[in-house]
Symmetry: C2
Subunit: 362 residues, 2 copies
């Protein structure tokens, strides 16, 4: 049975006026996409409808047992006033990998991509047009059985919501302060670390809170076994720019396989730079710093794209990176990626997917 | 400002007829307790109302970032037709410990206990009266900010629902088969293992599914660092009955501090037995088995109370425990605990909390 999108559209008479300060994930567009899964019907009830509350029985399984996954990606309004999504195919592929890890059903990625495009087309007036602003796309799925008992749900709901978001750095590209610590562990190999599921974010809150109290923007996580190797930063992957190498932690199972991470690795390779994915100990980073071989440190993620690290601290040792300034390479990567996002530069990688503005007759 | 319970009660004319097979977490009583938290008001809106759906904005933070905790405890109808809850004070203390670990607000345990008793009193006709049956109580809390962004929510909802449950072993106390494996890790020290949060259950699903396909009831988890020490079983803590010692894994941070575990340790001590909380390697269990020093293995948990392990398997080695029969000590513990639950034996530990049948004027 072929899945088909049903449309229930909101009548909007007034013009959409976006707030001056969009922030992140504070505002949502008029519509959402929703579909249901059951064992006998598979995915069904695909509907684009006005953004509305979800009704859940209080025993709904994911509330108690955490069977929930999500993705985060962005659509941009290009300088030619076109709309394009950055690597939705890769994001949906990762969604299905996450689903598998916690016993959830896969989605038909082509169908979901189609639904995503339709949804964005319908709500395209919500896409901001200032540089740095974008439409954040949040697909998510959860187990919806209304019964207690630790087992995979037999029913699921998949939803996409859209949020116009501001520039991550409203005052310009600014280096962040991160704290490497071994008081808390986010994830461990053979666990859920590589799965984009709620569990990993719950695991990060207390450490992030304590770091924030000390003036740090985010936490640099160490591996859960030896607490020796760097893994990832809060909501980003991490890259260490050594004198003759740009290294990023290899995917051991406890690290989120970031789409921006993947894009950056590809760009660096194309630029002829020596980029590696390997184990990197915090000790190695400190030694490189002490011997003057640490050129820069930066994070990659959908929200910030590229984030320069100006200060890295570990066990009381404060390492000021590149005199606290934005690294040259960091900025070059940021500019390259944003040039692709906003259509200033040709997309030679087929990373962007266009959205037709009038995808359906409303 | 003192929190006060508001009542919106359902009018029920027909008599409650419980299904013959209650199962676990399938049926729910007429009412629920609910209260809200905000930074300025603290906990407020405490209400006992008809069981109803929760309305959530699709961006509600816990759906995405997993800030959710729960408890599971039971109320029993005694042989004298009284109603009593087993160790609610200890469960609510653990709830607050869980809350702290993931940056959630604590509840006033006395107030919540009062609300729990009122709720149970109102729905007391739902409490089954057959031996082995009980009223399962599920308090839970989640972050309810309607915004995306990885940070502790500023608003929360706390709910209690009640579910009449059947005997865990409808055909009598029956040994289970468990599989120790090192393909997956549930939790690691400094992570969320000791916190009763959704994350740990999500982390357990795939391993449990694969074990079930091989005919095992549950998974015996090994520690996440060395994958050498036994930690806990699916939904239970584990005890190893050696010839001259009854040992249970010590609480290293990755193990749920079970209330039944705690009760069993106390009982065993009172019975003059040598009970220890320590690291127990899977190798030590195998060696004890091989040398004839392994008397029994059993699990403890609110659902099953005590569960005899009849078969323990690790890397292809099947260990038939006590010839696959229920251990003498396991049965003695089960009988002792259930005698306290159902009021056949005096509660000398102050573990039970009575519920007055007409707590309020309805």
């Amino acid at each position: 049975m072929k899945n088909k999108i049903n449309y229930i559209l909101k009548e909007r008479k007034e013009k959409i006026i976006l707030p001056e300060k969009l922030g992140f994930g504070q505002y949502f567009t008029d519509h959402m996409f929703e579909m249901d899964y059951s064992k006998d019907k598979g995915w069904h009830n695909a509907t684009i409808k006005p953004l509305s509350e979800i009704y859940l029985h209080p025993a709904t399984s994911f509330i108690h047992y955490g069977q929930t996954i999500f993705e985060g990606l962005k659509a941009f309004r290009t300088i030619d006033d076109e709309i394009q999504i950055f690597r939705p195919d890769t994001h949906l592929e990762r969604l299905n990998n996450s689903a598998k890890r916690i016993c959830m059903p896969a989605v038909d990625t082509e169908f979901v991509l189609e639904a995503m495009r339709e949804l964005i087309a319908i709500d395209s007036d919500w896409i901001p047009n200032k540089r740095g602003e974008a439409l954040y796309i949040r697909p998510f799925m959860f187990g919806s059985d209304p019964a207690l008992g630790v087992r995979p749900s037999s029913e699921y709901k998949f939803i996409i919501i859209l949020s116009p978001v501001g520039a991550y750095y409203p005052e310009g590209f600014k280096p962040v302060k991160i704290l490497a610590q071994d008081d808390y562990v986010r994830a461990v190999r053979k666990g859920l670390g590589e799965c984009k599921t709620a569990a990993n974010y719950a695991a990060s809150l207390l450490a992030a809170n304590e770091a924030a109290k000390k003036g740090f923007t985010q936490v640099l996580w160490l591996d859960g076994v030896e607490q020796k190797y760097i893994e990832e930063v809060g909501t980003m992957n991490i890259f260490i720019h050594f004198k003759d190498e740009i290294a990023t932690p290899k995917l051991t199972g406890s690290i989120l396989p970031g789409v921006t991470r993947r894009s950056v690795i590809q760009l660096l390779k194309e630029w002829g730079l020596n980029v590696t994915e390997r184990l990197i100990s915090i000790r190695e980073v400190i030694d490189a710093y002490d011997s003057g071989n640490l050129i820069g440190v930066f994070g990659t993620g959908t929200a910030a794209i590229i984030s320069s690290v100006g200060l890295l601290s570990y066990k009381g040792k404060d390492m000021m990176i590149n005199n606290g300034n934005v690294g040259e390479l960091d900025l070059k990567l940021f500019n390259e990626l944003t040039a692709i996002h906003y259509g200033e530069k040709e997309d030679t990688h087929n990373w962007t997917f266009k959205v037709e503005k009038k995808a359906i007759e409303v």
